[in-house]
């Protein structure tokens, strides 16, 4: 689960609609199930494979501990557990969403304007080793979005990894085949696995995001190669290209979304010093994409360049844990094609996205998180007028507070010890929404009207 589920896409690059589930997807899942060896996350399948509690890999799931990062970088292949169950896991998210003022027309089709209980999503995972002896493993997710009634493939990361020695120091080499730029990353300061880990499907959500914040999620295939030297320096480089409309349809994604022309390069560089119970990471990441808006040819291409910087600090002790993550993404947009299509007014814009959060967990069971987000960029009537934004501005700023209770992070009940549950209450407070504090949409709605209270139960089993 990541925030792409809930964060709306940029108006410039309209989100691909989700399609109904097609039989091919069932075939793929069935094939994975049948071909997988009978062995082998807080995916419960990872816990079964390793024999460890969720808390070994996760600091308040899904944030990864240092050991969890190594587990992923080594290709999800560490073993140890005695379970013979296949590496399959499931996840269900149920919630209740309240906004300060109701959303006219309903929070979503078939939902009322406010105070909506719902089953948000259900997911099935393949999480674990595929062939340990070859260094092959996977995280693969299929999600049914109950709010929008569609089934589609979700974050997927197939990887191969090998450890060797370079200059006398341990060096990991690996390759990831995945479907979302950044999903291969192991720090929770970057967008694909960054906070908020869960947002209400029925809340207004932040209306604009940079391209690397999930815009191409599940619509692309990418191959990245990475190395991790001496458990200190991490470097990854790769490229992404858009799937064919036929493939997207088969995977539950309804084309056309925005299409990458050619291959979009992705890069990542990070340094992670450690001392005592502390780990600190500072890094940079980015994506440069030539984009055909809506896959409509004849208007040339847009170009988006995202350059991000991130930091993460974790203090993980026996009872107390503290973590801080922050990212700042600078996006420069050349919108020649969008202007030609009449969906952007200016040919050049910029967007900036800042996310900061800090969490405290006690005994990996009780936790609290406070986060801040600030999205700002150049105004553009064509891009943002339809948000709707009276000022034609993407600028959105707010705070997120969350309290969590995870009763099974040290092991579930005896009948299913791999059950993990996060019960939480989240509150999102908007200082500014779509460029305005008051009457941001020209219809009298204020930013505070979007403040969202979300009760949720997040279960993985």
């Amino acid at each position: 689960m990541n925030r792409k589920h809930i964060r709306s896409r940029s108006a410039r690059f309209p989100a691909a609609a989700r399609g109904r589930f097609l039989p091919l997807l069932f075939l793929i899942v069935a094939a994975v199930l049948l071909l997988a060896p009978p062995r082998a996350e807080a995916l419960p399948s990872y816990a079964r494979q390793t024999g460890q509690q969720c808390a070994a890999c996760h600091n308040g799931f899904p944030e990864l501990t240092p050991y969890g990062r190594l587990f992923k970088l080594n290709g999800y292949t560490f073993g140890g557990g005695q379970s013979d169950l296949p590496p399959i896991a499931a996840m269900v998210v149920a919630g209740y969403t309240h906004t300060e003022a109701g959303q006219s027309g309903g929070a979503a089709p078939h939902f009322g304007p406010n105070n909506n209980p719902d089953i948000e999503t259900g997911s099935l995972f393949y999480g674990g080793a595929i062939a340990s002896s070859l260094g092959l493993g996977a995280f693969a997710q299929v999600t049914y979005d109950n709010v929008h009634s569609d089934l589609h493939w979700d974050n997927t990361d197939l990887r191969w990894a090998r450890a060797t020695s370079v200059l006398g120091s341990e060096t990991l080499f690996g390759v990831s085949l995945n479907n979302n730029p950044g999903v291969s990353d192991v720090w929770n300061s970057t967008p694909a696995w960054g906070y908020p880990y869960l947002l209400p499907e029925l809340g207004p959500g932040v209306p604009v995001a940079t391209v690397i914040e999930g815009h191409f999620a599940q619509q692309v295939a990418g191959l990245t190669a990475y190395t991790y030297w001496n458990r200190l320096i991490y470097a990854e480089i790769g490229g992404y290209r858009t799937l064919s409309p036929r493939t997207e349809s088969a995977l539950g994604i309804v084309p056309p979304g925005d299409a990458i022309k050619g291959i979009a390069p992705y890069w990542r560089l990070a340094v992670e010093p450690k001392w005592g119970r502390n780990t600190f990471e500072v890094g940079t990441f980015g994506l440069a994409a030539s984009v055909i808006p809506g896959d409509v040819t004849g208007f040339g291409t847009d170009h988006a360049t995202d350059v991000g910087f991130d930091v993460q600090y974790q203090f993980l002790a026996e009872r107390d844990s503290i973590s801080v993550q922050a990212s700042y993404i600078m996006e420069n947009q050349n919108l020649t094609a969008s202007q030609g299509q009449g969906i952007a007014t200016d040919t050049h814009n910029h967007l900036r996205s800042l996310h900061v959060k800090t969490s405290y967990y006690y005994d990996q069971t009780y936790g609290g998180t406070v986060g801040f987000f600030h999205i700002a960029g150049s105004g553009d009537p064509g891009l943002y007028g339809g948000l709707p934004s009276l000022n034609n501005s993407p600028n959105t700023t707010g705070w997120i507070g969350e309290v969590d209770y995870m009763p099974f992070n040290h092991g579930g009940p005896s009948f299913w010890p791999w059950l993990n549950v996060k019960l939480g209450v989240q509150y999102i407070y908007y200082d500014k929404f779509a460029g305005g504090v008051n009457n941001f949409d020209g219809a009298g709605r204020n930013a505070h009207d979007n403040n969202t209270l979300f009760f949720f139960a997040w279960m993985a089993f």
Binding site: R39, Q52, Q53, A56, P66, R162, E170, T171, E318, H410
Partner: protein
């Protein structure tokens, strides 16, 4: 074991650096996983996880088997080591113990000199008034350990504190260490662990 097989293919650096008998591929692969928490060559950065470098071979073997059969059941054993050890064969355990015991021990840390001095007194002489015998009687004059008695010199201080507390409340079952630790005050634990960590 899946991990072992994977990392066997990887060929582990630590094994190649070991001057003693070469590790089997399975042991090398497994050691790579151990190093995720216990550090490269068994020198741990994080005090949650003990240094293994230079530890007594028989002690390591006994502990891994105790994790495997769940007879060592302190909280961290449950969180991490039960799973880690569940599928280790006797031969892999032997190989791991051989590898870690043959590594040069971690150097001692810098600790408060007053506490170190007080801790040395406990280590050397025990606390007669509390029926606490000298630690050195079993753990050796330099806290180097002996056979199944662990090396304590240079170990992370907070790890040692945690183990003494676990012995005291019997969450780590060991009757001798339970008797020896149950009457220690927090200050005394702090002192003796400062001394040991500094060695």
């Amino acid at each position: 074991m899946a991990v072992a097989l994977l990392l066997a293919a990887a060929g582990c650096t630590a094994g190649e650096q070991n001057a003693s008998a070469p590790m089997t591929a399975e042991v090398a692969g497994t050691e790579h996983v151990c190093s995720s928490c216990h550090g490269l060559n068994g020198k741990s950065v994080n005090p949650t996880f003990p240094n293994l470098a230079g530890q007594q071979k028989d002690y390591l073997e006994a502990q891994l088997k105790a994790f495997r059969d769940h007879t060592r059941a302190d909280p961290h054993a449950h969180t991490y080591m039960w799973g880690m050890a569940a599928q280790l064969s006797d031969s892999t355990i032997d190989g791991l113990a051989q590898f870690f015991s043959s590594q040069a021990p971690a150097e001692g840390s810098s600790e408060n000199s007053v506490e170190v001095a007080a801790g040395k007194k406990i280590f050397d002489d025990g606390i007669a008034a509390k029926d606490v015998p000298p630690c050195m009687a079993c753990h050796g004059e330099k806290a180097e350990g002996n056979i199944t008695i662990p090396r304590l010199a240079g170990q992370h201080r907070s790890y040692l504190e945690g183990q003494l507390e676990a012995f005291a409340v019997n969450s780590r079952a060991n009757e001798i260490m339970h008797q020896n630790s149950m009457n220690l005050s927090a200050q005394e634990i702090s002192e003796v662990t400062a001394f040991l960590a500094a060695q």
